[in-house]
């Protein structure tokens, strides 16, 4: 082999070795990663759902809503709708997107809301996290009739929801997205459980 070719061959050889190493690791971990993700999803859904109120596997009863970036998991009891759980994103948090899980009963009442992932400031915006405060629990039982749509806002904007001291942006984003999800549910309820 000519001398000037050697470095190229060597580099190619290293690339090949590491491609195999990565491919092997990927094969070995793939199944477990998929299981972990599924388990986490199930745990999240269970946090909102009332145990025993459904008999299907909501985590696998999925409806992807095209173009709307929402995913819906459906809980049923003997085929009848029990709840629709929306994975949705509030895009206007203080530090980017806030991933939310919004559970809604067929009568339009909220079963519960959880912040799944966010990067809000610790001590200011992170009170939307159940580990920090029980602010999100206030949503349970609310609907577009309680309060009326015009009052679906933080107190500072003339609504009924508490904001945190010195941090209005985060709760405003969450309240806004939950309201949007409720409106969406109202408009599409019948298609959701097809």
């Amino acid at each position: 082999m000519p001398d000037w070719l050697k470095p190229g061959w060597l580099l190619g050889l290293f690339a090949l070795i590491f491609i195999f190493l990565l491919a092997f690791t990927y094969e070995q971990t793939r199944e477990r990663i998929a299981i972990q993700e599924q388990l986490r999803l199930e745990a999240q859904l269970k946090e909102i759902l009332v145990a025993g109120s459904y008999d299907n596997e909501p985590a696998t009863d999925v409806l992807e809503i095209e173009g709307d970036k929402r995913t819906v998991y459906r809980a049923r009891l003997q085929g009848q709708p029990v709840a629709a759980l929306f994975k949705t994103v509030a895009k206007d948090g203080y530090s980017g997107s806030i991933n939310l899980l919004v559970g809604i009963k067929p009568n339009g009442e909220l079963l519960g809301v959880r912040a799944l992932a966010h990067r809000e400031t610790p001590g200011l915006g992170d009170e939307i996290d159940l580990r920090r405060s029980d602010w999100v629990l206030d949503f349970a039982g609310r609907s577009l009739r309680n309060p009326m749509p015009d009052d679906w806002a933080v107190k500072k904007d003339g609504g009924v929801f508490d904001a945190f001291t010195g941090a209005t942006i985060t709760p405003r984003a969450v309240v806004g997205e939950v309201k949007k999800t409720l409106i969406y549910f109202q408009a599409h309820q019948h298609e959701l459980f097809q």
Binding site: L10, L11, F14, F18, L22, T25, I33, P122
Partner: protein, 232 residues
Amino acid sequence: MSTPNVSDILYQGLWKNNPGLVQLLGLCPLLAVSNTFINALGMGMATTLVLTSSNFVVALSRPVLREEIRIAIFVLVIAGFVGVVELVMNAYFYELYLILGIFIPLIVTNCIIIGRAEAFASRQPLWAATLDGFVMGLGFTLVLLLLGSMREIVGSATLFADAHLLFGEWGQHMSISFGEDARGILLFALPPGAFIGLGLLVAIKNVIDEKLSKPKTVAVQISSPTTADASA
């Protein structure tokens, strides 16, 4: 460069040439992930693993390494191992992965790793290179842990919070909280706290070095202590 002995390698990695306090080559992960003890530990372990593996492979391939492609090979090796660590963490420490996830690929940008490959592993025997990788990783982890503890205690008024992410059930009992309503000083949980904390640690190390070198320099008052080996 002559082959250093074991105690040399330990002294360099843990103290004299500590990657976190003296070389200051891994600032991005050091500052970003040192907000809690457990985050620091997770990042430290991942970095140590990559550093040890990459030093090992670089030293192993020393006979065939060529001047003109060595940097490309270092990058390939480091990126490969980071990929492996990321997958393994994703599979076996999933919760921790969710927190550290975005910072794991950044290990590639930790210049300590390529720095050790170039400055040490590509010139030394296999055992020395592997030990150096491990000790440098340990030195980095210790600084991460110190900074993480400081920031967690002052910034969040907790210590070992979320330990179960690393230690499973057993870790639930490790978390210490300093009072139900203790909130901590937010500044320390946020990025400025990382800079302030690291500055303090570097200063403390320099003071100790100065104290230690006093007896020797007592006769020559003007000689300054050897604190400025920070090589960029």
